[in-house]
């Protein structure tokens, strides 16, 4: 600056002079060309929403999300409550359709089990999603009644000490000819079918006894 001093008025004047000096400046033509080419390339056809979504839309979305989460949590808890007795029944009543089931000792159905089944929540009957599970549970005693089991046949010398440290009964499927190998009668017409059997394994991993299950 060559001026001796610059006050507010002079500054305003100088700024206006600068503004007027630059007032004629414009972007080069090639910028317009590029913008228009980009427009043609994009073929902009945006729906005329034209308005930024109001904040109320965001609030509505947030409330809907919270409601959805709450309903999901309630449904999940409801389902968990309903599923709580299911493992107990399954534990007490081994399934019949498993090929090899590490099941606890097979016992015939008891009154306690029937009671447990009778005490199933009535909501189960209303909810279509739970109908199959309830129906299968109801069928379990029937299946148990249909079973006829032989006594355990020892496969090796057994004594009480063999099972002092525990053991495990495993249900397996065997060829029906296995019945013959134990001297048991079997239906020759069903020779190609398999027969279920419970095998007692000791803690040593050896099979100690076997019994055959006949399902009618």
């Amino acid at each position: 600056m060559n001026s001796p001093g610059l006050d507010e008025e002079m500054l305003t004047r100088e700024l206006k002079a600068l503004a007027s000096e630059m007032n004629q400046l414009e972007a080069p033509d090639r910028v317009e060309t590029e913008v228009l080419e980009a427009f043609r390339a994009r073929k902009v056809v945006t729906p005329l929403a034209f308005r930024r979504p109001n904040a109320s839309y965001y609030w509505l979305a947030a409330v809907a999300a919270v409601l959805l989460i709450a309903i999901s949590v309630v449904a999940l808890r409801w389902q968990m409550e309903d599923e709580t007795p299911a493992p107990r029944v399954a534990k007490e009543l081994p399934r019949h359709d498993e090929t090899v089931t590490p099941a606890p000792v097979h016992q015939p159905a008891k009154d306690v089990e029937y009671q447990a089944l009778d005490n199933t929540p009535k909501r189960n009957e209303r909810k279509p999603t739970r109908i199959p599970r309830v129906r299968r549970s109801e069928n379990l005693p029937v299946a148990n009644h249909a079973e006829i089991a032989t006594d355990f046949i020892p496969l090796r010398p057994m004594n009480a000490a063999s099972f002092q440290d525990g053991g495990q009964i495993v249900r397996v499927e065997l060829p029906r000819s296995a019945l013959a190998s134990f001297g048991l009668p079997f239906n020759m017409d069903r020779y190609n079918e398999k027969v279920k059997a419970d095998v007692i394994f000791g803690v040593d991993g050896m099979a100690h006894a076997i019994r055959f299950i006949h399902v009618r």
Binding site: M1, N2, S3, P4, G5, L6, D7, E8, L11, T12, E14, L15, K16, A17, L18, A19, E21, M22, N23, Q24, L25, E26, A27, P28, V31, E32, E34, V35, L36, A38, F39, R40, R42, K43, V44, V45, T46, P47, L48, A49, F50, R51, R52
Partner: protein, 209 residues
């Protein structure tokens, strides 16, 4: 051509609406109407012709992509464009560390500063030098002060619209402008005055000591 003339009578909102519906002429009219101000704003903010061109292009490309974000209730199309331009300029300046005073390329853009054929060549030269000093002083301001000077003083935009562009209160614009002008005055003081002021400060300090 006649259709283009009809388009020029439309306001910015209507042009933007037509452009978003795929009308190329609307974009052309809107571009020609607003590109100069956007280009100058970017140039005055950055001091770089390259950045100003890029920003101008980016602003209108953004308008094509995100033009539906414009809300007439929140301000004018012009303010919307300036806001977009401001964001792009600041981003470019951050990336390129271009906050230093302008380079030589800017000088080529201002031919009138040197090529004027007024009556007195000496006065003209002095005036051009003064304007150049002011321009450099503006560019050396911190960005938050520079933008209010550019918008309010150089672009002659009202405080209200500047507040919309910057997304702040009018009072903030006023206070920033006041502070920016004080900084400009301090920067534009002649070196002799600065030396005098410094020596006066030292003398007074010695007196108090």
């Amino acid at each position: 051509m006649g259709q283009m003339n009809l388009k020029t009578e439309l306001n910015d909102c209507e042009l933007l609406r037509s452009m978003l519906a795929g009308d190329e002429e609307a974009l052309t009219v809107l571009y020609r109407r607003r590109q100069g101000a956007i280009y100058r704003f970017a140039l005055q903010m950055s001091g770089s012709k390259t950045i100003a061109e890029d920003v101008t292009q980016e602003v209108f490309l953004f308008l094509m992509r995100e033009g539906h974000l414009f809300d007439p209730a929140r301000g004018s199309v012009s303010a919307f464009l300036f806001g977009v331009a401001r964001n792009h300029v600041l981003r470019r300046l951050r990336v390129e560390q271009h906050l230093a005073p302008i380079g030589d390329e800017f000088d080529d853009d201002v031919p009138s500063l040197h090529a004027s054929t007024e009556i007195c060549p000496l006065d003209d030269l002095t005036r051009a030098e003064t304007i150049e000093s002011v321009r450099k002083a503006v560019l050396s301001l911190p960005s938050k002060y520079r933008e209010v000077v550019v918008l309010c003083e150089l672009q002659d935009i009202s405080y209200g619209e500047t507040a919309e562009i910057l997304g702040c209160a009018i009072g903030t614009v006023r206070s920033r402008l006041h502070r920016a002008r004080a900084l400009l005055l301090a920067k534009l003081r002649p070196a002799s005055e600065i030396e005098e002021a410094d020596s006066a400060t030292v003398k007074s300090a010695r007196c108090f000591a």
